[in-house]
């Protein structure tokens, strides 16, 4: 889960969940809006996480975001039901004016072609050791309570106390302050609560990852100084 703070399921989670879904005849909808198209080093997060969903939602990287586009991948048993309902009701009464816009679809076709011919999945896998190494280094920072990642997406959670993982008072806005320091240092990431999300363009090189993480480390140091000056730990 991305925008909730990059929560990574523990190994075996989906393997454990899926028999329960099957037992209770519960459809499994896979939201691939972030993980789709290479983010985790495979085409879809489902492949990385051992998921066997019934249907998937895709958007975002489908066009590399050069135009808005989303899609639902409709499995055969759904489509049969849609056909049957059309026979009964007259037609399938759902759709958007811009659904399947030619600009978005042309960009989707081209983006996927580029992902394939430039081997973007291979590139993601090749920079992952650097990404993971720089993430691991953050774990030593006095503000960093937890680092979570899967493929080329990560969450760095800031805490007031490393041992107890005590959180900062939400009003202090520590991660937001860190983002302001980071911007001054020439980098953009995103704060979600106390978590800093990292999800660079998949084309990022090792040298660029170093630059990004160097600036993040500096911003964390700036934040540490500010936390000390403001006495936010004692609060």
């Amino acid at each position: 889960m991305g925008a909730g703070g990059v929560i990574v399921p523990p190994a075996g989670y989906f393997e454990a969940i899926q028999p329960i879904l099957a037992e209770h005849d519960i459809l499994f909808i896979d939201d691939e809006v972030i993980c789709g198209f290479g983010r985790t080093g495979n085409w879809f997060g489902a492949e990385t996480l051992g998921m066997k969903p019934d249907t998937m939602s895709v958007a975002k990287q489908m066009t590399s975001a050069y135009a808005p586009l989303g899609a639902v991948l409709v499995p055969p048993f759904y489509y049969e039901a849609l056909e049957a309902q059309s026979a009964k009701i007259g037609l399938f009464g759902h759709g958007f004016t811009y659904g399947g816009h030619p600009l978005g679809c042309a960009l989707g076709v081209k983006a996927i072609e580029i992902y394939q011919k430039r081997d973007i999945l291979g590139h993601v896998r090749s920079v992952l050791p650097k990404f993971d190494e720089r993430l691991a280094r953050l774990s030593g920072h006095p503000l960093v309570g937890e680092v979570r990642s899967k493929g080329l997406v990560a969450g760095v959670e800031l805490v007031a106390d490393l041992a107890s993982k005590r959180a900062f008072p939400p009003k202090a806005g520590v991660a937001n302050k860190c983002m302001a320091f980071l911007q001054e240092r020439g980098a953009i990431l995103r704060a979600i609560g106390d978590t800093i999300a990292i999800c660079p363009p998949m084309v990022i090189t090792e040298a660029e990852l170093d630059l990004l993480f160097d600036r993040l480390e500096q911003a964390l140091d700036d934040t540490e100084g500010w936390v000390a000056r403001e006495g936010l730990r004692s609060a």
């Binding site: 809006v33 050069y66 816009h101 363009p201």
Partner: protein, 224 residues
């Protein structure tokens, strides 16, 4: 720091999502002008390394010429058409074929929309439609997980576990998304009790007299 001209225009004209609007003038928006690779540049020409691919989406970075050219070409050829009433067009067909080929699941057809929220909103409708078709009209509950984010439409916001999102749009009071339906299956130990309705809270805003006056202006006077 005083706002630059373009920042001042921005704060007077644009609503910024997921932004503390009460502090926008003080924070000052970062107004971006162009991008290249993993870098973006603001209107002052300052460079930033962009570590979020925008909102987890610009996978090829900013300013990929080959991709931009494909868009420009399509705009010149057929800038718009739709799929309603059995109309079709090559880009949609080709992309749908590609998705069928790439997906790790069995895909019969592809339904296109414009965003992740619309895709997930459609998922809920399709699940209900499917169950209706099977004669199971009561099978309507959706389980989403603690800390999930699935979008901001009325339906998908109610599948999203983020207080600032649900406070603006939620259908928790309807049968489709009762708190039990939203109970986590991710990690039962972390499940928290949920209120069945939003907590009563004092109004945080009273419209100014001018705003109220505007809204009341009779529909018969199209004063524009």
């Amino acid at each position: 720091m005083p706002l630059t001209n373009v920042q001042a225009r921005d704060v007077e004209a644009v609503v910024h999502p997921y932004t503390p609007l009460n502090r926008l003038r003080e924070i000052g928006p970062l107004v971006l002008e162009r991008g290249r690779g993993v870098f973006v540049y603001d209107t002052q020409g300052r460079e930033y390394i962009e570590g979020m691919a925008g909102l987890w989406c610009a996978g090829l970075g900013f300013g990929d010429e080959e991709l931009a050219e494909a868009g420009a070409e399509q705009l010149r050829k057929l800038p718009y058409y739709h799929l309603f009433g059995a109309k079709g067009m090559e880009p949609a067909i080709e992309l749908a074929e590609k998705l069928k080929e790439l997906a790790p699941i069995d895909v019969a057809r592809v339904f296109f929309c414009s965003s992740g929220s619309e895709a997930n909103d459609t998922q809920v409708k399709l699940a209900w439609y499917y169950n209706n078709a099977l004669g199971r009209p009561n099978k309507k509950k959706i389980i989403s997980r603690v800390k999930a984010y699935h979008g901001v439409t009325v339906m998908t916001a109610s599948l999203t576990d983020c207080p600032t999102t649900t406070s603006i749009s939620t259908c928790r009071s309807t049968a489709c998304c009762t708190p039990t339906a939203r109970t986590t299956i991710a990690s039962p130990s972390r499940a928290r009790p949920r209120r069945s309705s939003p907590p009563a809270s004092p109004p945080t805003f009273a419209p100014s007299s001018s705003a109220r006056g505007r809204r009341r202006s009779p529909p018969s006077s199209p004063s524009r």
